[in-house]
Each structure stands twice: as structure tokens, then as C-alpha cells.
Symmetry: C2
Subunit: 303 residues, 2 copies
Amino acid sequence: MTETLLSSATREVVIGFDQPFVIIGERINPTGRKKLAEEMAAGKFETVVADAIAQVEAGAQMLDVNAGIPLADEPAILATAIELVQSVTDVPLCIDSSIVAALESGLAVYQGKALVNSVTGEEDRLESVLPLVAKHGAAVVAITNDESGISEDPDERFEIARRIVSRAADHGIRKDDIVVDPLVMPIGAIGSAGRQVFRIVRRLREELGVNTTCGASNVSFGLPNRTALNAAFLPMAIASGLTSAITSPLHVEMLQAVKAADVMMGNDSHCASWIARNGDSPAGEATSGRRGGREGRRRAAAS
Amino acid sequence: MTETLLSSATREVVIGFDQPFVIIGERINPTGRKKLAEEMAAGKFETVVADAIAQVEAGAQMLDVNAGIPLADEPAILATAIELVQSVTDVPLCIDSSIVAALESGLAVYQGKALVNSVTGEEDRLESVLPLVAKHGAAVVAITNDESGISEDPDERFEIARRIVSRAADHGIRKDDIVVDPLVMPIGAIGSAGRQVFRIVRRLREELGVNTTCGASNVSFGLPNRTALNAAFLPMAIASGLTSAITSPLHVEMLQAVKAADVMMGNDSHCASWIARNGDSPAGEATSGRRGGREGRRRAAAS
């Protein structure tokens, strides 16, 4: 059974095949958020702190922290953001940067076992990120692209994942500490983007035995009613084997879809969390006029 | 490519692996609807007609018609109901009865190619229903229970499906004309019910190459907020390979989840239906502050 254990100073979270799905809050990321980028570059972290608290309150079990601001001192800003977020929440963090020095400074101040986001199949990334992950005893997100870019063939992306797992083993990193990102492309541009993800996620789980994550909301980029699309995509990916996602927990429909998917996967024991969230009276009874319906009747007929 | 073609006098519907998901409206069924049962037994069909029109308007591509009322003349009532429904809508019908004489009288009046609901793996059902299906050139729902009841082992249910497909072939019924119902049990009672369905549906598609249907809303029986559970279950089953469901199209959230799942499966060409339903302005843009997000950034970095 594959389990990726992450921790803060005081709290543990497990990503796993038989665990409730883990939502990693995506909001603390200045990419495309001009005001947040300006604040962080100026050493102001009020929005970071507010986003951290709001996402945890909404149900995020982990938070992604990214400080990718062009021309800014990313290593210093990321370290400060991580220290601040750890001072106001107790969830484990995902330290997110494409700059190795920033990952290093983030890991240096982090309390607990972090998820490093990310390594790719590119040779220079493998050689720079994996030793850092091993040194800190961290876990790592493995993104399935390499020097040749992002393949539209899910089986090629799977092979990159296999290579990263193998290279990580050379550094003493167990496959339980690798969370593979199959790369979710916008379905408005690539009609097969959904099926690609479902296929690679299933192979990652069944053949490679690794946990998975993805930037879920990317799938609906450019389309109307993105929340409804994301709220369908995540349960579909979960049924295919996805065990976590970097996404926003602030959308009620999507969070509800993930919690319902936990029930459907049998990962909400006795449906206890669902019943606690939704009350124990069968308020949705009206969804079927046939109590017990088809199967009740068949069973009665068979007995 | 497996395609189940159904028709009314004037309209065709295809259930298939690369087709939009087919919703078969479940409402015309007196089981658990006391008032409807009394009306139908008394020869009153106003509710049947109203339910037919409402379900088609809401988006049902087919309608299930059931007249299972204890002590009533089911063959006569079912035939009348079918004639009436065919006079007010043009969608193909699913003729639903556990009484062979009722299936026979329904088929006798039906215009087009119907879906007969159902045959099981029980010897007497196989011997009575399959010849009827063959005689009328109909398609048939194959339910995966037999004399020993409903197995909790999805692989045993799969074997029953395989047996029905084989027996149908002896009667000249092609596997394209068999739509297998994997039997959805209430997840509040059986925690593995979801995973059972996902597994058997995948095997039915990959190994047996048949279309599938199910009484979807049964999965949430007895739990609160059933609509949200059903709205997560259907996309998950669709990702696993489910191609149709007998359910109610009257719940907006569920219908929307199915339409979103069509997009995710690549079965809504150029997302045209989704955009037509939801407007072409990206109203849901706010679901992500990161336009293009993670992959946009990675791609930019890689180029």
C-alpha cells in the first residue's frame, strides 16, 4: 500500500490509495495574481496569511506555497512566506519553485517533512533537485515532462514518471515519497486531455504504484462554467486513481464533489464525514421516487 | 467500436463508447410511487404523460417505462403507457418489466427498436426473454444477477454478464445489442459498492466490449444530500466506462455533471454542447487566479 507521509511540526497528512483525497490549496502563488506578486515582492504578506487561513478553513489538508516573481529574490521571499504560513496554520506544505535555490531556502526553514514541488524528467532538474529532497528527507512532486517538452501521448508521460522513480531510487528516495503529476492540459484546446489523464493516472497507480497529484483547474481553462467542469473532472480522476490535487478548496461545488468521491471510493468510513457535513436526515431523498428502487425490487423478487 | 442503436418511429439514439452519455429517464415507474400506481391501475395516464414530457425537456435521450403494480393487469397497462408515451415524445423507450408477458405486449405495440429491460442470468429468464428480444430485433438490458442472487464480488457479476452475452449469441443477438447493468448497491450499506461498479464497468468495456447502464441513484440510498452523491458517482462511473444510466434528468446538478463528463471524455466535440449550455464567456474564470497556470509556466520555461 503506497502512502506518502507529509508533516508540519505538529500534524501529519497521508496521501494514499485508501485515504481520503488530499486537497493541496493552490492560492498562494503570484503567477497571474499581479497584486499578490507586488505585495510579496515588497515584503508584504497579509494576503499570503489570509489565503493560508481561508484555504485551511475551507478544507485544504495541505497548502502549496509559491513565490515565483520575475526579478525578485525568490529564495528569500519563499522562505519568509513558508515561515509565516507555518506560524498561522499547522498543515504540511508543498514548497513550490522552479528555482533550485528557492527550494533549498524553503527547505532550510521548513519544520516537518515537506513536499517539494517539483522535479521533472529533465537531466539538470534530476541532478539538482533529487539530492536536495534526499538530504532533507522530503517527498517530491515528479512532473512528467522532460527536455523534449510535454508529450500528448500519455504512455510517454508514464515512461518519464518511471524514469524519475528509478533515478530517485539511486538517491535513496522511496517511491512512496514520489507524487507524480501527469500534467493536466486544457480540454478546450486538447479534446483528449481528460482521457489522457485518466489513462496515465491508472497506469501510475496499477503499474508503478505511486501517488499522484495535478493542477486540476487547468483542465477547464478558457471554457465557461469552469467550476462545474472541475467538479466533474476531479471525481473522474479519483475513480481512475488520483490521490491528491493542487487546486482551490474555496469552491464549494468542487470540494463537495471531492468529498462525495471519497464516499464512492469507500474512503470515508461508514460515510461518517459525509453525514457530518450534510446532516443525517436523508434530505436528498427526493432524488429518487423509488426507495431502494430497481435493486430493492430485484432482491425482493429473488428471495 | 460498440454501438447500441435504439429508435422510435422517427428518431435514433446511439449508446456507445465514443458517444455522449445517454440518460434514460427513470420516472415512469410506479414502484414506490403510490399515487402513480393507483392512477395507472385505474387507467389514468396523466402523470405518465407529464413525466414523459418533463424528462425529455430536461434532457433525457430515452425513457424507461415500467408498469409494475401488484395485482394489476401489467401487460395491458404497460402497452397503453408505451402507446401514450410514444404519442407525446419521439425518444426511444426502454420497456421495463419483470413479467415476460408484459415485455411481450409492450414490444407488440412499440414503434421502432426498443431496449428491453431486462434479462438476468437466471435460466428461466434467459430462455423466455432472449427469444422475445431476438424475434423483435430489440436490444436488451442484461442484469448481472442469477439464481444465487447478487454477488458482492464484481468479478462474479462480470462472469454472469459474459454468460448472458454468450447465451444471447445463441439466439442471434449481437453483443452490440446487449447493455449490461452491473447492479449499483447502496454505498451507505456496502462501502465497496462504488469500487465494485467502477471495476466491473471497466472490465465490461475492456474485456467484453459491451455498453453498460445502471440505476444510478440507488448508490446514495439512505444518505443525506443524495443529489451531490449521484452527481459525483456518475462522472466516476463514466470515467470507468459507463455509457448510459437509468436515472432522473430532473436534477440539474446531476445533469450538469453528466454533460461535464461528456466534455472530459472527449465526447462533446469541440465542447460545443457545453458552450451552448453555459454561454461562451468564461464565466467560471474565477475558479483559478492563474491563467494557464502551472502548465503555462512550465511550457514557457521549457521553450
